[in-house]
């Protein structure tokens, strides 16, 4: 079957391939492909084909997706951080209260008979006014202080169970107030 007829160039497919090959080689040599390639490589700016880059529409989609994710993450972080407590405020306040200079302003010692009280400097006046506002229960609360509580100050000194019991049970503070204002008294 593999006779000389088949090898002797009578195969049309082989002839076709050889013809194509010779045509391509001739074209490569004629049009100076090597020269053109060298010239192209030496050009200063070589723009890659469009398929190699991100298409503008895809790029916009990617950017907007990334921005959305970042915004979402920021929103979640902000919403969660708003509910979290910040413990440094009272600690800083306690530290400042412990400083001897500020203690003297906040809790002034009673003036003794022999020593005349010196007039306070403007700085002392400012600090004492700030401290008196933050300490008083009736004063307007400073924004952001005491974690936003309006009626309580967690950093303030505690009453203690003994004192608390004394106020409520021994002094009967609640009973005295309720007796004055409760309509239940009139019902009786």
């Amino acid at each position: 079957m593999t006779g000389p007829e088949q090898k002797g160039g009578s195969d049309p497919i082989r002839e076709l391939v050889e013809a194509e090959e010779s045509q391509a080689l001739a074209r490569f040599r004629d049009t100076g492909f090597g020269e053109r390639l060298k010239r192209r490589l030496t050009e200063p700016t070589v723009t890659p084909p469009l398929s190699g880059r991100l298409r503008p529409a895809w790029r916009a989609a990617w950017v907007s997706l990334a921005v959305l994710i970042v915004l979402g993450a920021t929103a979640v972080w902000l919403s969660r951080s708003g509910t979290r407590s910040i413990d440094s405020g009272p600690a800083v306040a306690a530290h400042f209260r412990g400083l001897p200079g500020l203690q003297a302003i906040e809790f002034p010692a009673p003036a003794s008979a022999g020593v005349s009280a010196l007039p306070a400097s403007p700085l002392e006046k400012n600090i004492s006014s700030v401290l008196s506002v933050s300490k008083g229960t009736g004063g307007t609360p400073i924004p952001g202080s005491s974690r936003g509580f309006s009626a309580i100050d967690p950093a303030s000194e505690r009453l203690g169970l003994q004192r608390f019991y004394e106020i409520l049970v021994i002094d009967r503070s609640i009973e005295r107030v309720l007796s004055d204002i409760s309509p239940k008294i009139k019902e009786g």
Binding site: I69, V70, T83, R84, A151, F164, L168, S173, L178, E187
Partner: protein
């Protein structure tokens, strides 16, 4: 492709702390609880000492304490047990001073006061007059002291729970 990978890495860094954080894991801040209880005590003490203030003053204080308690609960600084008992005290105070000249709400209010006095003092509620107010005031004072003691013992309770958790989760010893 490299740019995409870098972008994804940056996003992962941004979102990782948020996803890793466990909400509500902050411990109960006992200072806030004590401050809430002390606030009621101090308010009534000042009013009793000065003799000033009326229903409006009590209501204003109660509303502020309620807002603070709610905020503290949202921030995880008081636990649900404390919050529920504290809010009940505020509600009882509000009921006790609520003006009701026509007596429309008396049955409802009396039911609530009767239940409160019964649960805290173990007494039958007198219903009206100075004795009734005395009972309600005693019950409020007692419940505030109970809440104080509850806060004092939170750690003890937590230690007990942890000890039992450890005991129960430990592998059982094989008997030889």
């Amino acid at each position: 492709m490299l740019k995409k990978a870098i972008g994804l890495l940056v996003l992962a860094f941004l979102t990782a702390p948020i996803l890793a954080e466990e909400p509500g894991s902050s411990p109960v801040d006992k200072k806030v609880g004590y401050a809430l209880i002390d606030g009621i005590g101090e308010t009534f003490h000042q009013m009793a000492m000065s003799g000033s203030g009326g229903v409006e003053k009590v209501n204003t204080a109660v509303e502020k304490f309620m807002a603070d308690a709610r905020k503290a609960k949202e921030q995880g600084q008081v636990d649900p047990v404390f919050f529920a008992r504290y809010v009940r005290i505020l509600a009882i105070i509000k009921i006790a001073v609520a003006p009701d000249p026509q007596g429309i709400l008396v049955p409802m209010f009396d039911d609530e006061l009767r239940r409160f006095v019964r649960e805290v003092l173990g007494e039958d509620y007198k219903g009206s007059g100075p004795q009734a107010i005395g009972q309600v005031a005693n019950a409020i004072a007692d419940e505030l002291v109970n809440l104080h003691l509850y806060l004092d013992d939170i750690e003890t309770k937590e230690k007990l729970r942890k000890a039992w958790d450890d005991k129960l989760s430990a592998p059982a010893k094989k008997e030889e």
